[in-house]
C-alpha cells in the first residue's frame, strides 16, 4: 500500500440519506470535483423500534429520490460514493435493500457500478463468548450486559470503525460504491482519509462535523464540502446563503454529544481541547489542532433491540376543575381498581402509564411546575402487555374506569373524560427497547464486518 499525501475534498449531500438533498446545492458541490461523496444514513434517535422491528428511518420514496441524485453524479462524473448505516439501524437486510434500490435506478438509467457491501450484523455466539470472557463493558449508563439480553434481542449490530471502509478502498480501488451496514457516523470519512496520510485528529474531527451535513452552518443546512489535508480541514456549505463561522463550527461538537471536547469512538478518543477555528472568509472555516488518542484495546459498540411487549393506548381530555383539583388521587384510585381486575399489573407482567398533558407529560419527575393545577389536561393511557389481546383488554377496562369512576365532590355524573377517537382504544403494536448497548473488544477492527463485491 502506498500512502499518498494530498488534499482531499469530500462532498456530503445531507446529514441522513433520504431526508432530501437540495439539488442546486448538491450540483454546486459536484462542480468542485470532489474525491468522494459520503452520506450517512443512520441514527438511534428515532428509538429502538427501527432496530427491533427491522424498519428504516425513511420510506422507500425518500431513498429513491436522494439516490437518483447521488447516483447520477457518481455515474456521470465517476465520483466514488459511500453510504453508511444503510436504512438507519444498518442491519444486513437494509444493506441489501439499499443495493436493490441502487440496482433498480441503475437499470432504468443505464448506470454501471462496481459495488462493495460491508455487513454489521453480529453473530450471537461471538457476543456470548466475549461476554463470558469479560470483554464486554457498558457504554455510558447502559447497565451490565446479560446472556439473556443477547438472546432476547431481535437484531444486534455493531458500529464498525474506519478500518473496514479503508480496507475496501485499499484492496478494491476500482469499487465505485460502498454500501455499509451500521457504522460509527464519521467512520467512512476516516476510512478514506487514513489512506492519504492525514492526521487522525484531523479526519475524525472533520468526519464528526460533516456526517451531519451542513448542520454546523448558520442557518443550518444540508450540503457541505470538506477539504482536508495532513494537518487541517476547511468547511464550506454549498448553499451560498449559509455560513460556517468559527463559533458555529465549534458549537457543532456540542450537538448530541455527552461533552464537546472529548469524543469516544472505535479505536480511540478525539480530543478537541486544543482545536483552533479560523475564519478563511465570512463563510469558510479552517480547523486544526485536534488530537486523536488511540485506545489500548479496540472496541466496537454493540446495538441490540428486543420486543418487550405489545401496546394499546387511549387518549382524551379532562376539563372539569373539581376533578382536576384531585387528579393524582383520582388516577391512584383508577390504578388501584385496575390492579384488582388485572393482577398482571401488580406483578409487572403488564404496565399502565398515564401521561398527563398540560401538567407533566413531557418532563415527568423532571418537571418543576408539576404542582400547578391546569384548567384542562390531555390524558394518554399507555398499556403494555405480553400480547396485543391482553393489552387491548386492560386498556378497554382502564378507559372505562377513567370515564365513569366516581370521585369526591363530583357534580358531572355522566362522564369524566372527553374522548376524541372512535374507537376509543387503539392497539399500536409491539414496543421495543435497546437492551444491548455495550462496548465489545475485537481481535481486529475488520474481523466482524464481512465484505461482498458485486457488479451492477
Amino acid at each position: 500500500m502506498s500512502v499518498q499525501t494530498k488534499e482531499l475534498t469530500i462532498l456530503t449531500p445531507a446529514g441522513i440519506l433520504g431526508y432530501g438533498i437540495p439539488a442546486e446545492h448538491f450540483w454546486r458541490g459536484v462542480e468542485r470535483g470532489p474525491d468522494a461523496i459520503i452520506v450517512d444514513a443512520g441514527s438511534t434517535d428515532p428509538g429502538p423500534y427501527l432496530l427491533g422491528l427491522g424498519k428504516t428511518i425513511v420510506h422507500r420514496q425518500g431513498y429513491m429520490r436522494d439516490l437518483a441524485l447521488v447516483l447520477q453524479a457518481a455515474s456521470e462524473r465517476r465520483i466514488p460514493l459511500i453510504v453508511s448505516s444503510a436504512g438507519g439501524p444498518g442491519i444486513d437486510r437494509h444493506v441489501d435493500e439499499m443495493v436493490a434500490m441502487i440496482r433498480e435506478i441503475s437499470a432504468a438509467k443505464g448506470y454501471r457500478f462496481k459495488v462493495a457491501t460491508i455487513y454489521a450484523d453480529i453473530d450471537r455466539a461471538v457476543i456470548h463468548d466475549r461476554l463470558a470472557a469479560g470483554r464486554i463493558t457498558e457504554c455510558g449508563p447502559s447497565g451490565e450486559l446479560t446472556h439473556q439480553a443477547i438472546d432476547d434481542a431481535v437484531n444486534i449490530v455493531a458500529q464498525m470503525g474506519a478500518e473496514p471502509f479503508a480496507r475496501v478502498l485499499r484492496e478494491h480501488p476500482d469499487v465505485d460504491i460502498i454500501v455499509g451496514g451500521r457504522a460509527y457516523d464519521p467512520a467512512p470519512y476516516a476510512g478514506l482519509c487514513m489512506l492519504h496520510g492525514i492526521d487522525p485528529g484531523v479526519y475524525w474531527h472533520m468526519g464528526k462535523i460533516v456526517e451531519c451535513g451542513a448542520v454546523c452552518a448558520e442557518p443550518k443546512g444540508r450540503v457541505i464540502l470538506a477539504t482536508v489535508r495532513r494537518d487541517s480541514f476547511d468547511l464550506e456549505p454549498m448553499n451560498p446563503a449559509e455560513r460556517c463561522t468559527p463559533a458555529s463550527v465549534a458549537a457543532h461538537t456540542l450537538y448530541e454529544k455527552t461533552r464537546p471536547d472529548l469524543l469516544f469512538g472505535p479505536g480511540g478518543m478525539l480530543d478537541l481541547r486544543g482545536s483552533r477555528y479560523e475564519a478563511l472568509d465570512n463563510r469558510r472555516v479552517r480547523v486544526s489542532g485536534s488530537v486523536f488518542h488511540p485506545s489500548e484495546r479496540y472496541s466496537v459498540k454493540l446495538e441490540g433491540a428486543a420486543i418487550v411487549g405489545h401496546r394499546t393506548i387511549f387518549i382524551g381530555g379532562i376539563r372539569d376543575p373539581i376533578l382536576l383539583g384531585q387528579l393524582d388521587s383520582y388516577l391512584d384510585e383508577v390504578r388501584r381498581r385496575m390492579t384488582g381486575f388485572f393482577p398482571e399489573l401488580e406483578t409487572g407482567e403488564a404496565t399502565m402509564h398515564f401521561h398527563v398533558y398540560g401538567r407533566d407529560a413531557v418532563m415527568g419527575p423532571l418537571e418543576p411546575k408539576r404542582h400547578e393545577i391546569p384548567h384542562e389536561v390531555g390524558l394518554m393511557g399507555e398499556i403494555t402487555a405480553p400480547t396485543q389481546e391482553q393489552a387491548n383488554a386492560i386498556c378497554s377496562q382502564a378507559r372505562i374506569t377513567v370515564l365513569h369512576m366516581p370521585y369526591p365532590g363530583q357534580l358531572a355524573t355522566a362522564g369524566n373524560f372527553a374522548i376524541p377517537l372512535n374507537p376509543p382504544e387503539n392497539p399500536i403494536g409491539p414496543v421495543c427497547r435497546f437492551n444491548v448497548y455495550h462496548l465489545m473488544e475485537v481481535e481486529s477492527p475488520e474481523e466482524l464486518f464481512p465484505v461482498r463485491l458485486l457488479e451492477i
Binding site: 463559533a247 455527552t258 471536547d261 435497546f434
Partner: protein
C-alpha cells in the same frame, strides 16, 4: 441588564438525546461578554442543575463550559428507557424549558 433571564442572554437553549441513555443540554452565546458573565455568575453550577432538574448528583454526567463555542453543556443520565414503555420525549428535545427562566445576576 441585571437579573436577566437566560432566554434573554443566550442564542441557543436546547436539549436532545446523546445516545439512548443520556439527555444533553446546550446553552450557546453569541458574544463573549455575555458568555463570561453567565460563566462567572455561578447560575449554571452543578448543584443548581441537580436542583432544577430534581436529579441526584450522580446522574449528572457532564456540567461544563466550552470556551471555543461560548457554550455551556449539561448531560444527564436518562432515567427512563428511550423510545420504550412509558417514554415521554423520544428525542429528548423538550427537556430544556426550565433553563429558559434561570436568572443571572
Amino acid at each position: 441588564m441585571r437579573n436577566a433571564r437566560l432566554r434573554d442572554l443566550a442564542k441557543v437553549i436546547r436539549s436532545k438525546n446523546s445516545g439512548p441513555f443520556e439527555i444533553t443540554f446546550d446553552v450557546i452565546f453569541d458574544d463573549d461578554a455575555t458568555y463570561q458573565r453567565v460563566k462567572e455568575s455561578g447560575a449554571l453550577e452543578q448543584a443548581k442543575m441537580a436542583l432544577l432538574y430534581n436529579v441526584p448528583a450522580e446522574d449528572i454526567i457532564a456540567c461544563m463550559f466550552f470556551d471555543p463555542a461560548m457554550a455551556f453543556k449539561l448531560t444527564l443520565r436518562r432515567a427512563w428507557a428511550q423510545g420504550s414503555v412509558g417514554e415521554r420525549d423520544t428525542f429528548g428535545a423538550q427537556q430544556h424549558a426550565p433553563l429558559l427562566d434561570i436568572v443571572v445576576d
